[in-house]
């Protein structure tokens, strides 16, 4: 495994499975009276959020705290960033504070990659622009595996605003690595250019895709990123690409409905679908903490990245092949 987690594509199959298996063990902790492990005692994790995000930041914060790390939250409002400090200046500040891990959310695609070149600690991408959101993909894969027992050969349909969705991109890359068959469905205006190079199938007809899905993942319509007219009206979008009760009835019996949140109820997902037993929306949030704990543990729990150098890289890869004992 790399020192950083910037793209889901950085994860080899063994790395991804190691994260999911580790998360599986950590998930049990949620039932314990003492939800804390001493593992990251004395390590500092900085949550650096240049974009609003409540659930991702809280999820990372809970994960780091459950591992006993010191957590520093750094958000744009009230920081020097609002006064014009650049990402590089911020990076140098973090470096001076001795951050072992930086969780970065930024509106510019590629910001974590840049930051990784400036700091010694591990950089974890918590969403960059319309590029990637690898921990979301990991928690989605984790949720699918928990609910359906496998990932290999699973038919996953991702629906909606793929163009603006870092979740979709990370999911396609990760699920492909893990052997699932992904189909992206959306209006042509909301599918990115060069999508045919992605390792997935593409469709425009949701009704055709639904009966052939083990998992259906509804993406949020990202009004805040829409600076052009991508579809005639919300109502029309909802009719063609929203998941309502009638469409949900077409799903195979075992299929689950996912949504990365926050949901636009009544737009891409009907309220009755969001609250249905096969909807995993709430579960995804809980699983997010376990998966982020696994990522933080695997990146920061061993030899510190700055001293381990290449040994760290080789090492984690070594354990990746380890069978989890019965």
């Amino acid at each position: 495994m790399n020192r950083h987690l910037i793209s889901a594509a950085d994860l080899a199959r063994d790395d991804a499975l190691l994260i999911l298996d580790t998360a599986e063990q950590l998930a049990q902790m949620a039932d314990r009276p003492i939800k804390k492990l001493p593992t990251l005692r004395g390590r500092t994790v900085v949550n650096l959020f240049f974009e609003d995000s409540t659930r991702t930041r809280i999820s990372f914060e809970a994960a780091a705290k459950r591992l006993s790390a010191d957590v520093i939250n750094f958000s744009v409002k009230g920081s020097s960033v609002a006064k014009g400090e650049s990402l590089k200046d911020t990076a140098q500040t973090l470096e001076a504070m001795g951050a072992d891990g930086v969780v970065l959310r930024h509106s510019a695609s590629g910001a974590p990659q840049r930051l990784a070149g400036w700091v010694h600690g591990s950089v974890i991408n918590a969403g960059d622009g319309t590029h990637e959101h690898p921990t979301q993909a990991l928690l989605d894969a984790f949720t699918m595996r928990r609910r359906l027992g496998r990932l290999d050969g699973l038919r996953v349909t991702i629906v909606g605003d793929v163009l603006h969705s870092r979740v979709a991109r990370s999911n396609v890359l990760l699920l492909h690595t893990l052997g699932a068959e992904v189909t992206l469905v959306g209006p042509p205006t909301l599918l990115p250019v060069a999508i045919e190079t992605w390792p997935c199938a593409i469709g425009y007809d949701l009704d055709a895709a639904v009966p052939k899905s083990d998992v259906i993942m509804m993406l949020r319509i990202q009004q805040e990123r829409m600076n052009a007219a991508y579809f005639p009206s919300v109502r029309e979008y909802s009719r063609r690409y929203g998941l309502d009760a009638a469409r949900m009835a077409l799903l195979p019996e075992h299929a689950i409905v996912m949504h990365p949140g926050p949901m636009n109820r009544g737009v891409e997902i009907a309220a009755e679908v969001a609250d249905a037993p096969r909807s995993t929306v709430v579960e995804q949030v809980a699983n997010g903490v376990s998966v982020r704990m696994a990522v933080l543990y695997l990146l920061l729990g061993g030899m510190s990245a700055s001293t381990a150098g290449t040994a760290g890289t080789a090492g984690t890869a070594g354990t990746a092949g380890t069978e989890v004992p019965a």
């Binding site: 950590l26 695997l298 061993g302 070594g318 092949g321 989890v324 004992p325 019965a326």
Partner: protein, 241 residues
């Protein structure tokens, strides 16, 4: 994952151990439990110090001792430390059930997150922690592992246990005690005391994890590698395969 059962010593967490050269290697085979390179007997030329029948007899005796010391094992919970402590805990539970006629709850307790040498090596995969539904509060917990060496695994296990509940008492059952303790820890039940030098390696094989039962003793042929802080000298040069 578990590693420290027999986990060597010196090497690790504390650089210069009194009376012992920090350079000493040491490593029991059991340390490799869970390591990717662990391949069983084939790559380890050791002589068998316990045969399958010996292991069976040792476990039967330990089971009887547990029953005796706990007056019937009525409130005992057996927790095996992964990897090989887990099947040993199950076997002890079966033997106690045969004698006493009641089931003894058993499970597993992973100690990876509580190790004192986490920072010396890259993060490793976790083992399972399965606490029986009865819990541990107010009960006598018997920790079970294959090899007792430095005592560091057991220290970590006590910490892990502390986060799960408050047992009335904690005891330790071990298949092989090879000496060289680095902490004030002792076993309550010992299958075999095996005097070893730190240049030797002890490897426990169990049918459930390795396809056969055996305890092997051999030389650590890489003990010339002084500098490395790894406990797993022989099998993971550089700390890793």
């Amino acid at each position: 994952m578990h590693a420290a059962s027999g986990s060597p010593p010196s090497s690790g967490a504390e650089p210069a151990h009194a009376g012992r050269s920090a350079a000493q290697p040491a490593g029991t085979a059991t340390d490799f439990a869970g390591q990717a390179d662990f391949a069983g007997k084939a790559d380890f030329a050791g002589k068998a110090v316990l045969e399958p029948a010996d292991i069976g007899r040792a476990l039967t005796r330990i089971a009887h001792e547990i029953i005796e010391r706990t007056k019937g094992a009525g409130d005992v919970v057996l927790l095996g430390i992964p990897t090989r402590g887990v099947p040993l805990a199950r076997r002890l539970a079966e033997r106690i059930a045969q004698v006493e006629g009641h089931q003894v709850p058993y499970g597993s307790l992973d100690i990876t997150m509580y190790r004192d040498d986490l920072r010396l090596r890259p993060a490793r995969a976790l083992g399972p922690t399965q606490v029986p539904p009865e819990g541990v509060d107010g009960r006598i917990v018997v920790l079970v592992d294959d090899v007792l060496y430095s005592g560091r695994t057991v220290r970590a296990a006590l910490d892990a246990l502390n986060d799960i509940g408050r047992p009335r008492a904690v005891q330790l059952a071990i298949l092989v005690d090879r000496g060289h303790r680095e902490l004030p820890i002792r076993a309550d039940y010992v299958g075999k005391n095996l005097p070893t030098s730190q240049q030797e390696m002890v490897r426990v094989l169990l049918a459930e994890t390795d396809g056969e039962d055996a305890v092997l003793l051999g030389d650590d042929d890489e003990h010339s590698q002084h500098s490395r802080p790894s406990m797993h000298s022989r099998h993971s040069p550089g700390g890793r395969p």
